[in-house]
Subunit: 152 residues, 2 copies
């Protein structure tokens, strides 16, 4: 693929998150805590035509190597994502997405009375089940529209 | 500038919002009502090095021409932005940002008792003053951190 055809250009050093489910790029940024305010160089392509997925999103983060923990949380909203670590324009490592057992501090509990949604200094923590996640504090289950509960 | 140096590639038809204040791209998307779910092809570059601004953001929206009203609202968070309408890879029109007199349905009033923040079907409406905006219903003034009040 020529540079002209690339939706977002190559990065020198950092992480390329490709084959993200179409329309989920902003949720990927939210999970990674990226809103632009800290000056990170980030490129995003949303709903790019893809042979494999029909439509896909791409997120490229310059100068930051995602940890395995961060990558695993992404599996909740973008199970087909591929993660490449890039150094000097070359792919030097690939991360495999493993579905985590628990997710901490990323989702907010929809139960208003949950201790994690009050003013207490308690981070949210959910157990990841097959098709749902369950709050370990109040046992509220989130089944549908998981991205709506990402803590932005 | 070669294609290789472009952070996000050229679009065929649509709108290019360039010279956005660094870190404001996600707020631009929020103002335009773009979250990826409607399938719009969008490219975003955040905190790209810029001679003129130090750091800037770029947003390219494929297949959509922004109206003058939409453009004017952007002036609240990105006063230096330039707007180019693109057709078949060529710039065919430029929009000038005019600071609007009123902003409707974009910001949410921080006053919890305001009629626009209750369950009533009343859209928010703010009058744009010099360095602040004022709710036309409850007269609450937002002075600082305007982006925090963008309705996402």
């Amino acid at each position: 693929m020529s540079d002209h055809e690339l939706r977002v250009s190559k990065i020198r050093n950092g992480t390329v998150i490709d084959h993200v489910t179409g329309g989920q790029a902003l949720n990927v940024l939210a999970i990674l805590g990226i809103d632009g305010s800290s000056g990170e160089e980030v490129s995003v392509g949303m709903n790019v035509p893809s042979d494999r997925l029909g439509r896909k999103d791409i997120v490229k983060v310059e100068g930051r190597e995602l940890s395995q923990d961060e990558v695993d949380v992404l599996s909740l909203i973008a199970p087909d994502a591929t993660i490449n670590i890039v150094s000097d324009y070359e792919v030097v490592d690939k991360r495999r997405l493993d579905r985590p057992e628990f997710v901490e501090g990323v989702l907010s509990c929809p139960n208003r009375n949950c201790i994690t949604t009050d003013d207490e200094p308690v981070d949210s923590k959910f157990e990841v089940l097959n098709d749902e996640v369950r709050c370990v504090y109040c046992e509220t289950i989130i089944r549908d529209r998981l991205p709506d509960h990402i803590d932005t």
